[in-house]
């Protein structure tokens, strides 16, 4: 049995664990405000709130219900647009109405839920981030932006950590929200059988790729077995593999050790997908353009793998990817932890990504780099590039070439020759191979312009960009 709270009612169901929350909401509970737009997490019309009880408080985040297997909401509070309705319009609904931010209305409930998620969030964030996963085809967004900005102002009036209390007091949420923590406490945790069914974590990839199989299957949910915390021990940062992208990117420890990391968050997926997709999921998905892989390759991540009999082994992430969608992973092994070293003060980090649409898109080419240097001398470089090979690629040769070199236009030019020999992009929907080679050059140089702009002659970079061959 799967048990959760849907708006103000307790739900107990024996529906398949892999059924999408979206179908359950619409078909079994006839809550039609949650819309089916794409079933792949790319439109946000099915956005709902997921509340989890931690330390007596319910923390809410937005998720797309199309990619949420029912079992993942066991013990949670799920809120659809209907669950936000009160006698009068909520302030978010009112803002959408006041700014004429709705035309055909089909995407509107998703926007209302996402912006309510902004108000409920326990951190301040850019209002546009909150709706980064919601697509509207009618309005051109300007009116929705105004509603979002107004919601952002409302958010500032809510003391941090007192979101629900404050919103209940202001009558911005229906009263029943006050009872949710008690109701959630009554739901017993679910014990998972270690069976042979499909293992699924956040669901953001498998629910797209294998929905036909998953939707009527029992599944083995990983979210409540995989660790998802971040700790520091023995001078290393140990990241629970089940952590989702947002919790990782906005984690306070990560922010402390990698201060420039959160600024890149917006380039990765959307708010809803970052709230769901796990780091480990991005790894085992093995996409050559997985953003998290590129980022963690540059951070020299090591994986801690564990099999069913709890036997562990360590493996550098760069050795994890063998070939296209082929991993050094035994059948019963799971990624348990991802281990990185805290960034030292003299190490610089940068992430770049180019996709057809800058946000909420899959990269044509993405790249991350860490550079450890002393003056103009490069001590060590870890350079990763995605979209240019069958795997997310740690650019071992290019990185090695640069070790110990003096940073100069000449060095970068020679490194570009090594780089072009090290990659083998193919033509696909994300771009032609010529384009990807060009992007590889540009993003490589962009890293150095961004990190060492003051040490490098701009004219020299310009010359490299306009004259340097991209042939292999």
């Amino acid at each position: 049995m799967i048990e959760f709270i849907l708006n103000n009612q307790k739900v107990t169901t024996d529906k398949p664990a892999g059924m999408s929350l979206l179908d359950f909401i619409r078909k079994d509970y006839h809550l039609f405000g949650t819309k089916i737009g794409c079933r792949e997490g790319d439109c946000g019309a099915c956005t709902v709130l997921e509340g989890s009880l931690t330390d007596g408080r319910v923390r809410y985040k937005t998720i797309v219900s199309c990619l949420t297997p029912l079992i993942n909401v066991h013990g949670k509070h799920i809120v659809t647009v209907e669950g936000l309705n009160m006698e009068d319009l909520s302030p978010v609904q009112q803002a959408m109405a006041d700014h004429a931010a709705t035309q055909c209305g089909f995407c509107t409930p998703g926007f209302v839920v996402s912006l309510t998620g902004l108000l409920l969030s326990d951190e301040q964030k850019d209002p546009l981030q909150a709706i980064s996963g919601n697509i509207c085809r009618c309005t051109g967004y300007k009116s929705i932006e105004k509603a979002a900005v107004e919601t952002g102002h409302l958010k500032q009036s809510i003391p941090e950590g007192k979101e629900i209390e404050t919103m209940l007091e202001k009558e911005w949420l229906p009263d029943y929200f006050a009872d949710i923590p008690e109701l959630l406490k009554e739901i017993p945790p679910r014990t998972n059988a270690q069976d042979n069914s499909v293992k699924i974590a956040g669901g953001t990839d498998l629910m797209v790729q294998q929905h036909d199989v998953i939707r009527h299957s029992d599944i083995h949910p990983l979210l409540n077995t995989l660790p998802s915390d971040i700790t520091v021990s023995g001078g290393k940062i140990q990241i629970g593999a089940g952590i989702n992208a947002n919790d990782f990117l906005h984690n306070s420890l990560i922010g402390e050790y990698f201060p420039s990391l959160p600024e890149h968050a917006s380039l990765i997926a959307s708010e809803q997908i970052r709230n769901m997709g796990t780091l480990a999921g991005n790894m085992v998905n093995a996409s050559p353009i997985g953003d998290m892989n590129i980022l963690l390759l540059a951070l020299e991540a090591t994986l801690l793998l564990e099999n069913r009999s709890e036997k562990q082994r360590e493996l550098p992430l760069k050795d994890f990817f063998l070939d296209y969608k082929k991993l050094d992973l035994e059948k019963e092994e799971l990624i348990k932890y991802i281990v990185i070293e805290p960034q030292k003060e003299d190490v610089l980090f940068n992430f770049e990504k180019v996709s057809k649409r800058t946000y909420l898109d899959i990269a044509s080419v993405n790249s991350a780099i860490t550079v450890n240097s002393e003056g103009k001398t490069i001590r060590k470089i870890n350079f990763a590039l995605g979209g240019i090979a069958a795997i997310p690629k740690f650019m071992a040769k290019t990185s090695a070439f640069l070790h110990g070199k003096e940073l100069s236009i000449d060095t970068l030019g020679k490194a570009l020759d090594v780089l072009q020999q090290e990659i083998a992009p193919i033509d696909d929907i994300r771009g032609s191979k010529e384009y990807k080679r060009l992007l590889a050059r540009q993003l490589f140089l962009q890293h150095f312009l961004k990190l060492f702009g003051n040490m490098l002659d701009e004219e020299g970079i310009y010359q490299l960009m306009t004259t340097k061959s991209i042939a292999s």
């Binding site: 809550l31 039609f32 405000g33 949650t34 819309k35 089916i36 737009g37 794409c38 079933r39 792949e40 790319d42 439109c43 659809t80 309705n85 319009l89 609904q93 959408m96 109405a97 004429a100 709705t102 035309q103 055909c104 209305g105 089909f106 509107t108 409930p109 546009l128 980064s132 919601n134 697509i135 509207c136 085809r137 009618c138 309005t139 051109g140 967004y141 009116s143 036909d212 939707r215 180019v354 057809k356 649409r357 800058t358 946000y359 044509s364 929907i429 771009g431 032609s432 010529e434 384009y435 060009l438 992007l439 540009q442 993003l443 140089l445 962009q446 312009l449 310009y462 960009m465 306009t466």
Partner: protein, 752 residues
């Protein structure tokens, strides 16, 4: 006034076809689609699929009681393919099951053996092979030989624009419910309820009166549900009739994106001639419309392209020839602008090309050639306003174009790796269905005895706010509060023989019909009031729900007057009928007066280009737009903003990539990217051109749906200018959309 659906939308209570509570026993349908772009079907084996769990039956061509034909303009499109398939996604059968997923799963068990044939995806190749959907047409004016002889400069070039998928967030869908005596009620997400009704009748072999089509609202359409909603409604109806059960067919996004038509891609060759004063003396263009595998609405769309090849310019000598080329792709269809944008893109490309070669700014040529009152369009209609020039001048005045231009120049001098580009985009768009007989509409008005009003028209609400405008029209004519007016669903039993809600004409046509109906009832009420108040009808008026004698309010209020009229057995219902006057067009000469009026405007666009990564942002789109005398500026500005962003998507982002086998590679929202909140311009500012709207527009408020889409074309040229700032020698031609890939390659390509 806000859109009247706002409250329902923000609370999730608005009902779309998939939200209609299902009746007990409802079945679900999923179409079986061709997996080959061009092939003979040598065998179709349904036995395994028929045995699958939950399957009620599978219907194919042999199960059609009437005609296996759904082509609207030309009868060239079967509902189900029989011997031969012509595009990937073409329906060959429909699976009916107790559950949507059961039908979906059974589809994998359908075995079709294909004998593959040659596939054509390129319209130029199709034209060379004589594969045309219908004969070409030429619109000509003046004397081309003389025109080009008089020119000081002549330039030739090629311009291509890609297609565009509608991505209405609500996919196509319908729900057919059997009624007694062989009748059917069909809820359809369609812009054309009558088209659906007529086509179901044709395929089922029934008279039209057996079929009732009802539409509450659409979750976006943009032209994609004008003709392309029909097939799915027909399939649901066919199955409902066959199995005597309600049948729902809602397309999954991946089926919708593959099986339904999109905006037509065009490829064109142009030749433009100018004199020393930059006056365009002659313009010749040959357009190859990629029509896909069947005509669909292509004849009308090609016609509108020919009407708009001169955009907002007066050119004395014009020759425009268009071919609608048959290819093995899903039949291309209506999409906001209906071929107009594709025509306007070519003349803008030609002007940009001439400007580049002459070393002048594009806007100098644009300004020299704006059409003005008294100038004749190449199709014979005479321009009746100064609005093209007035929009241009107001744009320069209000938004200080020269200052913006120098700011861009200054920025570019001081930034090596970031460049800005600026362009101006004037528009001129003709309003009316170019097929004259379609320009008519009806409205049914009931004034109930309590003074409330029910309005039914042929207009379909799809987010454009037509119902809100219609409510305003009824409220204004009666001079009552809008709260008294209710807009009913669009239903073929209440308002029959309607034209689709398309061509930006929904409010004009239906509003005029509504105005007529309301005025008829109003006259009767006034007559009743005159009798009650013992005066002459000429002295009676109703203002703010009160009866006035001349300028004096009386005690008689709306509700009481209606009640009295009811007791006096006055007819409180009326059907208004409107047929647009003035318009005509002679296809044998390709001359006439096809448009009720034109909509004008001009936009100033600035973009910023990251020349390292080849990615870009639209800084601002500032617009002077000719709304006429807007009935609802909130709604109209919303239409402008939405259209602009859709136009930007078409020109810079949305790319329909096909492989040579006719497979759409960009077949999901993760591969076909439409603008998100960050892709919208940082600023969209719209000010109305101060004019008196034309009498033939509803309450002088001009049609607004399509025209502003074309401002998006300006973003292409602003971006092109930014590329040229970084790489003046770029060989970048005219091949929209200008995606980040094309931009980056153009930034670093020196081959030119």
């Amino acid at each position: 006034m806000k859109n009247i659906d706002t409250g329902g939308h923000v609370t999730g209570r608005s009902v779309y076809v998939d939200d209609i509570p299902e009746l007990t026993g409802t079945l679900h349908a999923v179409p079986v689609l061709s997996e080959k772009a061009h092939a003979l079907i040598s065998k179709m084996d349904l036995t395994q699929a028929e045995k699958a769990k939950g399957i009620i039956g599978i219907l194919a061509a042999k199960d059609i009681p009437g005609e296996n034909q759904i082509g609207g303009i030309l009868p060239d499109e079967p509902l189900f393919a029989t011997d031969e398939v012509h595009y990937i996604g073409q329906p060959v059968a429909v699976i009916i099951a107790t559950d949507h997923f059961a039908a979906h799963d059974a589809r994998k068990l359908v075995k079709i053996d294909y004998e593959e044939l040659d596939v054509i995806t390129d319209p130029r190749v199709a034209q060379q092979k004589g594969q045309l959907l219908f004969p070409p047409r030429t619109f000509a004016n003046g004397d081309m030989d003389k025109g080009f002889t008089d020119c000081d400069y002549i330039f030739e070039g090629r311009a291509d624009s890609g297609g565009q998928e509608h991505i209405y967030i609500e996919t196509q869908g319908s729900y057919a419910v059997p009624q007694e005596n062989n009748n059917l009620k069909v809820f359809s997400s369609t812009q054309g309820p009558t088209v659906v009704q007529k086509t179901i009748a044709r395929v089922l072999g029934l008279p039209m009166h057996c079929i009732e089509v009802d539409v509450t609202r659409l979750g976006g359409a943009f032209g994609g549900k004008e003709d392309q909603a029909t097939a799915w409604a027909v399939m649901a109806a066919l199955a409902a009739k066959r199995f005597h059960k309600p049948v729902k067919l809602i397309l999954d996004r991946d089926d919708d994106i593959v099986a339904t038509g999109k905006r037509h891609p065009y490829s064109s060759d142009f030749r433009i001639g100018l004199d020393k004063d930059l006056k365009i003396k002659a313009f010749e263009v040959t357009l190859y419309q990629n029509g896909g595998a069947a005509a669909d609405l292509s004849p009308a769309i090609m016609e509108r392209t020919l009407f708009h090849v001169t955009n907002a310019y007066y050119i004395p000598n014009v020759k425009a020839t268009a071919y609608s080329c048959k290819t093995n792709l899903a039949p291309f269809t209506a999409f906001r602008g209906f071929g107009g944008p594709q025509g306007m893109y070519v003349i803008e490309a030609a002007i940009a090309h001439a400007a580049t070669r002459l070393g002048v700014d594009k806007s100098e040529i644009q300004q020299q050639n704006l059409i003005d009152k008294g100038d004749q369009f190449h199709y014979g209609q005479v321009c009746d306003s100064h609005n093209a020039r007035k929009s241009w001048e107001e744009l320069h005045h209000h938004f200080n174009v020269e200052k913006a231009r120098s700011a861009v120049n200054d920025f570019n001098k001081t930034h090596r790796f970031v460049k800005k580009g600026l362009s101006i985009m004037p528009i001129c768009f003709g309003i009316s269905f170019t097929k004259t007989p379609m320009n008519n509409a009806r409205a049914l008005v009931h004034v109930y005895q309590d003074g409330s009003v029910g309005v039914s028209t042929g207009a379909v609400e799809m987010g454009q706010g037509v119902n809100t405008k219609l409510m305003q029209v009824a409220a204004r004519v009666f001079s009552v509060n809008t709260s008294r007016i209710k807009l009913e669903t669009t239903n073929t039993t209440r308002v029959a023989n309607t034209s689709p809600t398309a061509a930006s004409s929904g409010a004009d046509l239906n509003g005029k019909a509504l105005q007529i109906a309301c005025n008829e009832i109003l006259q009767r009420l006034k007559k009743e009031a005159a009798e009650l108040l013992k005066t002459e009808i000429v002295h009676i008026s109703i203002r703010n729900e009160k009866v006035y004698i001349d300028d004096q309010p009386t005690e008689l209020a709306w509700e009481a007057l209606v009640e009295k009229a009811f007791l006096s057995r006055i007819k409180l219902s009326e059907v208004g009928h409107y047929a647009t006057p003035v318009i005509h067009f002679d296809k044998t000469k390709e001359k006439g007066h096809p448009f009720t009026y034109h909509v004008y405007g001009a936009a100033l666009i600035t973009v910023t280009l990251d020349c390292i990564k080849g990615i870009y942002e639209t800084d601002s789109v500032q617009i002077v737009h000719d709304f006429g005398n807007s009935l609802n500026l909130t709604i109209d500005k919303g239409q402008v903003e939405g259209a602009v962003v859709q136009g930007i998507g078409w020109m810079t982002l949305e790319e329909l990539t096909y492989d040579q086998n006719g497979h759409l590679l960009a077949d999901s929202l993760s591969k076909y990217k439409i603008p998100d909140v960050y892709s919208a311009p940082k600023v969209i500012e719209t000010i109305p051109l101060v004019t008196n709207g034309p009498e033939l527009a509803i309450m002088k408020s001009k049609a607004v749906g399509e025209p502003p889409f074309m401002y998006g074309i300006g973003v292409y040229f602003a971006l092109r200018n930014a590329v040229r700032e970084f790489n003046p020698e770029t060989p970048l031609g005219y091949n929209a959309p200008l995606t980040p890939e094309k931009v980056l390659l153009a930034l670093y390509d020196k081959k030119g």
